[in-house]
Symmetry: D3
């Protein structure tokens, strides 16, 4: 079987899935794994609470089981890494979470990681997870852009808010690398990096890179 | 210019360089970056002390400067990550260290990272570095196989000692993922993983994967 | 409405529920809250993996919603604290998890908390959670009795294994207080405390005490 | 002997003792332990320094010895937990400190604990203690209301200052639960909780709840 | 006034005081501060519990007040650093504790500090203090020689037990520097260092050196 | 041989060397070690990057080797502690770094250490080192005065900037002790201490005191 990395967007927003697929173009090699972005139909429009994060675990694991034979590795493309450890128990394939991969990748680019999040009410959920990963003390700050779903459609405004928040993380919190705390921000990575003069990690790219690394470390050509 | 990842073995052992190049075969894609393993002629036969680690920084940075125009990214392939931050100041290309990349990659595969090292006298140097990276509390243990250079030629013995030490890390220290603490162990990765039933990370593979991730995250095809 | 603490056993083992109800007798006061132990019919016989832990979240939150009007507080009586934060979003009543309450209570009885668990494969799940709680560095050790479900029926053997493991936590890991890492061990608390000469915390008792504290801190007689 | 929890206010301010006794009304059950609040006559008017905190240890331990036969558990009701470990050596009864119990209880209500203290010069003493407890990294901030003793008589002003400081802990430090860092603030708990929209812990209530939990975990009705 | 460092042995054992005075000979310079070792007459024969540690605070602070005009700096020469922060509030002179100075000095000699203590029951007291100092994670281990007072008179036996325990700290716990956890061990420092091949810190020497440093940093000749 | 502490200024600025020598006057005793301040001729004018810090290691270790027979101890007088561990491998004499000694000394004077640095771009280098030392969580903040080399000649301006930055560390970051993050600030220590009302540590003084302590702990008069 040819290698294939299945990237699951656990919210039902097809536009987000399309955006991440575009951002992953650089990871598609002629003789490399296929990179397939899938939308979890049962997912909510956005994962903005612990309840929504926990609710997608079931359908997510079912999708993983259904894809298992046709997949080499899985990426869970939501910054809450919903169901990451259940998924790892569900399959022998590697499963990578974008928050875990995004932050550990950022630790190769700077000492103090700043997180640009969407909503303030996600912060306690994030802090639990950063602690669980064992990296909380490397997080310089986690600041939300605090925009509603309707506002998120306004690309210019999203970018301005991300720049403001990223600038605060850099200037007040001492961040020297940023991670975008959402799978739906991919298109702003390059612009933000340029505007702020700091490396900016798109966690979905980081996770696909991590999956590729794990797969290719095992290959014996 | 076509992309090219330059992997520098900062010791002068050509066999080690050849071994890592073979282990990186899976990361060479038809339309991906060239992966070029280079030996630092000025390096010592092995980097077994802080002095030797610090002494290679100068020649390493000169090699990086010399290669800079013809490289897209650099990997420093010694588990002490000698000169990593000097190198980062020497070039605008990404520079990845194998210890940093190996351990952060392992954090995507388990909760408690065990390190299989060569020499006991490297342990205090390692612990300073694990602390500097901010991951010391995720390290379940760092145990040496304690073999002399001449003994290292005996592949069977090396593998037996790595298995013993890895088994202790798993059973007594609770490690659920291992990192091989040397760039020269690549050929034992798969065997060790099978023998111990734990994921085993070859840090050179992890670092090249990390360099690839950073490069391709920036690409706009 | 009279106060009522609903203790949910998220596995379907009625004997475990009966055992914890007996252990909670001391928390039932003439003019205090009713303490009602409920079995989650949809739960598995035991929660021995992340998958099982995540699978009960849905039915658990539905039970909480169903009981909400007739409850003053909830206790989730499984040492993995499954769905704790989803549950907290599901209701305005306080929700207490037995691992969180058991360990924080133990921190009032000693400096180094030892955990007596059932299965070795739960340890990575536990360590993620201890880190998420921010108390990992206060945990002296987490050792399993490693007994199968059928062996768990043999009370004498369970007690002997708990004593052995607790003795190792005390003598080799320096634990000065123990937490029993399972809601089904209540009947061994007093015996273990006497045998080992260390305070032993039954986390279900600790959690009900915590729920009572939260409720009564708000009361205005 | 009927159960009896002796709560010792180690300063000599009878009004503070009366205030905490009123706040404990909800913990007095018809068939539960008596809860007896006692003033340490030898104590200073307030415990505002390490010297004063250390000076009360002797008389406090003497009071504990004198009460020992007639007590089931002790609570030391000063946020410096003066003499907590000496007291634990002085008696076989459980001894609970209000800072230890208040903070560990708060860890069941949120991820980032904010402390509302009285005086700025107590902060270094607090930080030593939060570190000793092993919870310093869960403390979002510790801010003083900085009011003199005479100003503390002005209830309205105290509440306004507590609200301001609590609001800063919530908005600037990310606290999602507050602990009042003084045994004399009980009467403001409910108002503060309502004003700020965060759970607020009165540490004396938390400590009595903890003592009750420890006692009733041992009971065999 | 000529400079004078007052070293207070807070136990009443004159032999211990004489031993530390002898060990401080190297710190007495022709034109340097006098170094005066004093025995606290009110102290117990040994400080082997939190109660005894807390009980000496009063007399210790009184001795400091009495000596204040005739002293330039104070050293509290007991490894529990009893009353260190009360003493600091009692005088404007610098006050140094031997545990704090011993461990921070050891951090200049190695990465992993091993502690050779007398009694097992001191370990929880020590761990609270190491945490309060913020250095707990640099402590490789704290092992007691577990000898009774009468056995401590047997110098040969004390040395053998210290060597055994120090060897375990080195070989099993990875300590690369040791601190002797008692002011009464000075005479064994050099022998232990030679026997074990590790730097060994006598904390009383470290504390007097620290006091000298603080004094002379302020001097303007 | 008479004792002699060799203090090496690894930058080539003779004025800095002269300034530190003056600040060390208080550590020169009639019958104590000579304290000899040496300028590393090969050093750069200032050590303002990781590259410059790493580049001095070679010449520094050569100077240590050249001086070895005529020295009792070495101090590396640059706040980056360049080559500290290489130097320790290069000689059997004790080698002390001013950052390590300055910060561990400050931990004897307060709970929260503030660092007054020169340049913002040194902060990531510092944070790696504070983590490596295991003291990062005791650092209240590290703020730069951000002055160019030419501005540094203006003593009044330097002092004003240090006072401003030190005041922010005290008032906003809660620092209760400061360390001057440069070997060239000695002359401002006393003034800063007076202006801010906090103890201020000159790390070069602290390091010479540490060297003296280590030497004299070994002496047997």
């Amino acid at each position: 079987m040819a290698e294939r990395i299945v990237v699951i967007n656990p919210n039902c927003n097809e536009q987000v899935t399309a955006g991440m697929s575009a951002a992953l173009e650089g990871f598609r090699f002629a003789d490399g794994p296929a990179i397939d972005c899938r939308t979890l139909a049962e997912g909510p429009p956005g994962i903005e609470s612990q309840i929504l994060s926990d609710q997608v675990i079931g359908p997510l694991c079912r999708m993983i089981a259904a894809e298992d034979k046709a997949a080499s590795a899985f990426v869970i493309a939501c910054f809450s890494d919903p169901g990451l450890h259940s998924a790892r128990e569900s399959t022998d394939r590697p499963v990578v979470g974008i928050a875990e991969a995004g932050i550990t990748t950022a630790m190769n680019l700077g000492q103090n990681v700043g997180i640009v999040s969407i909503l303030a009410n996600s912060l306690p959920r994030h802090v639990r997870y950063f602690r669980a990963m064992g990296v909380a003390h490397c997080i310089a700050g986690d600041l939300p852009i605090d925009m509603t779903v309707s506002e998120l459609a306004d690309d210019g405004k999203v970018f301005r808010r991300m720049s403001e928040v990223g600038g605060r993380l850099r200037d007040e919190n001492g961040a020297d690398v940023l991670v975008m705390g959402c799978a739906g921000f991919s298109r702003h990575r390059a612009g933000l990096e340029e505007a702020l003069g700091l490396p900016v990690v798109d966690p979905t790219q980081a996770a696909v890179g991590m999956a590729l690394t794990i797969l290719r470390s095992r290959s014996r050509r």
